[in-house]
Symmetry: C2
Subunit: 427 residues, 2 copies
């Protein structure tokens, strides 16, 4: 993380003086994995306007302290794009991401430094804004390895991770194809929505002719400036969400549950140091939920709404005790509660969640179009599948609808300015 | 503005000790108009987590320094609602708004203080969050005075402001009825989107049976924690937007252009101290815009993209000189530029703009669904109509689409806990 605050405006001058992104990013690169630690529950530490290094062994935006805002985008590769086009796109994306995450325009001439008779290379809405902890994380969908007809468009079939298959159907799936899947994905997180939007917009622009935006989702979570950093944010059911998440300081849990290791899949060793990303747009029927008695809400979640403590007692971070019974003999944490079914105790596994709340206006029934854009990072899709299958009897299912689903292989990080995200796959 | 930071959590205890919203709001009420000054261009001053007084001569949220985030909602009154229902709704809305703007739950028992076998009165997602400068501003649409068939449902026809008529059609209108109009409106602005969403959600819930959500829009602007407060934010065309706005410190301009004065409309003196609000969802075809040469973008806007200076020269806040000509004889600020046509110089009037950028995912053409949710407050709708008519030849029209439109009469503020927004109309 760069200690000094630099604005895009200020750096325009620095670029002119020969102090470009390379120098800045180079100085910060080695610190990427060391500083970008702390999970959702731990809160975004430090300056919400500062820069997060783009380069590192892992991509930023996975164990980086969760920023306030999300702009996620999924892309389809165009029928005419060939292997060289895809490589060129990924190289251009990495170069642009390395600049934008440091608070720079997308290119050296940027929004206002180019010739007046040419379209600007940067769209300009982030001029003057600081880096805002922007992270840009790239993912590869199954379509990169085989299109809908099974054609290996880019000569990558032999390197396809065995686990990178369309997710199975789950109970209560109501998926809409136009907002599911995708060949490539970008997660942009920042403490300023304008900075995240600027990133997705400019990366979409760079992709023109090679990949086209398929669907996108904005989301919000904590607010650095107005929230206590250490508090676990609440979802739109009003409950603290992420208490039992994998903490980024827990290197053992990250190695066991999040990062793909060399040897996990011999055909896909290019993915070592990466992870699998699952996204699910989960609409919440909040008007129905809001009519439930508080005690029933607690029973469905398995936690106390006030402080997030498990219903077995204690405080928010007390380990749930699934054997505790009420005086009437019933399990304190009910058998159909979300906590019990999602927890490693029942599902047998753990995942790193990084979801954001969303509200996309109103629906035709006069209800808020609201819910959770769920994102989880894990070493294998099987972990998500195990958790989701465990949730088949979750009492919460009555109040949610899974509308979109996608799976991406998230490569390791780019090691420096000469490297790019995806280089290990196309090597 | 309350000087100390209080969280919803902290105040739950204070309420129990008899220090409820009334005391807090009462202490702050007198300061409402004195502290809630500074326009869009001046930036949100002070603590982004603090409270803004709900009570005052004017409603908050009009000249209050623009907060970072918007959740706007428009409502239809239900066919079965009668005058007493509408009065009860407005009273309940004011009481809830007075609490929520001070960082309190929507009611005394709130999210977790009620009986376990009853649905909570507050939905809970803002538990533990500070007031975050939340303002809640109520507006009345033409439908409150006459429904689509001209029926005076609530005995208010004689008090209808003469100017509260559906807006005329404008060049390039492409309005969609389901996201236009409405009988009642609420503008919730806060520095934390979760706080703004919580406000709209709970007010929507209170309205159940009397009014139903018709449409809603979220938006974003500056970010207090990561932006320089004094900078004019940029719109999604990449230009500073709001430079020539009415400044809230300019009491003379507010009196002349924003606040309805006693005697403006003798039948509607209840509106004195209020204003008219126009909302327009203006989609931007940003992909087309981004292909324009920088010089052409500048000519369309009438300003320099880098610093926002008018093309007649100077800096951002230099008064435009519409008589300046280039060496080739052409007007420096072109005849079809947005600046020239929107400016008082051409339109003959001024309005107080309070818009927010929005991005609502992607459209079916692989483009960002993005634009400006325009909001303006003015003493008479004629001011907006004059500006919008002046813009008929605006070169920018090629890159925007007006998708939604609404007009509301915004009553004066509630004077204290015994008062409510709308009391002057129903008196």
């Amino acid at each position: 993380m760069i200690p000094v605050e630099v604005t895009r405006r200020g750096l325009l001058g620095a670029v002119g003086a020969g102090l470009g992104a390379g120098l800045l990013a180079g100085g910060a690169a080695g610190a990427a994995t060391a500083t970008a630690i702390a999970g959702r529950g731990a809160g975004a530490a430090g300056d919400p306007a500062a820069a997060v290094a783009f380069h590192g062994a892992h991509q930023a935006g996975i164990v980086t302290p969760a920023q306030d805002r999300l702009h996620f985008a999924s892309f389809d590769l165009m029928p005419t794009a060939d292997r060289a086009d895809v490589i060129a796109l990924l190289q251009a994306w990495s170069a642009a991401a390395a600049r934008m995450t440091q608070g720079l325009d997308v290119s050296e001439t940027g929004a206002v430094g180019g010739p007046p008779l040419a379209p600007p290379e940067d769209t300009g809405e982030a001029l003057g804004l600081p880096p805002s902890n922007l992270t840009i994380t790239f993912g590869f969908g199954p379509g990169l390895f085989a299109d809908a007809d099974g054609v290996d468009r880019y000569g990558l079939a032999a390197r396809r991770p065995a686990a990178l298959q369309p997710l199975p159907s789950f109970a209560f799936d109501l998926l809409e194809a136009p907002i599911s899947g995708g060949d490539l994905a970008i997660q942009a997180c920042a403490n300023d929505p304008q900075v995240a939007v600027h990133a997705i917009r400019n990366l979409t622009r760079i992709a023109f002719g090679t990949a086209m935006l398929r669907w996108a989702q904005l989301g919000f979570g904590r607010t650095s400036s107005t929230s206590t950093g250490q508090q676990t944010p609440r979802n739109l059911f009003g409950y603290k969400d992420g208490t039992a998440n994998i903490m980024a300081e827990d290197a053992g849990a990250l190695a066991e549950h999040v990062w793909v290791a060399a040897g996990d899949d011999p055909a896909a060793d290019w993915l070592a140091g990466g992870a699998y990303l699952v996204t699910r747009r989960i609409a919440m029927t909040i008007e129905n939920w809001d009519r439930l008695p508080l005690a029933e809400q607690d029973d469905i979640v398995g936690r106390d709404k006030r402080d997030g403590a498990p219903l077995s007692g204690g405080g928010e971070f007390t380990t749930p005790d699934f054997d505790v019974r009420r005086t009437d003999g019933a399990a304190a944490i009910p058998a159909t509660s979300h906590l019990r079914l999602a927890h490693e105790h029942t599902s047998g596994t753990r995942i790193l969640r990084r979801g954001y709340n969303y509200v996309d206006g109103a629906n035709a029934l006069g209800q808020l179009d609201a819910g959770l854009f769920f994102m989880s990072y894990q070493r294998s899709p099987e972990q998500f599948i195990a958790v989701q299958r465990s949730l088949a009897t979750d009492a919460m299912n009555e109040y949610i609808r899974h509308q979109s689903s996608a799976l991406f292989a998230v490569p390791p990080g780019a090691r420096g300015d000469g490297d790019w995200v995806g280089s290990t796959l196309f090597a």
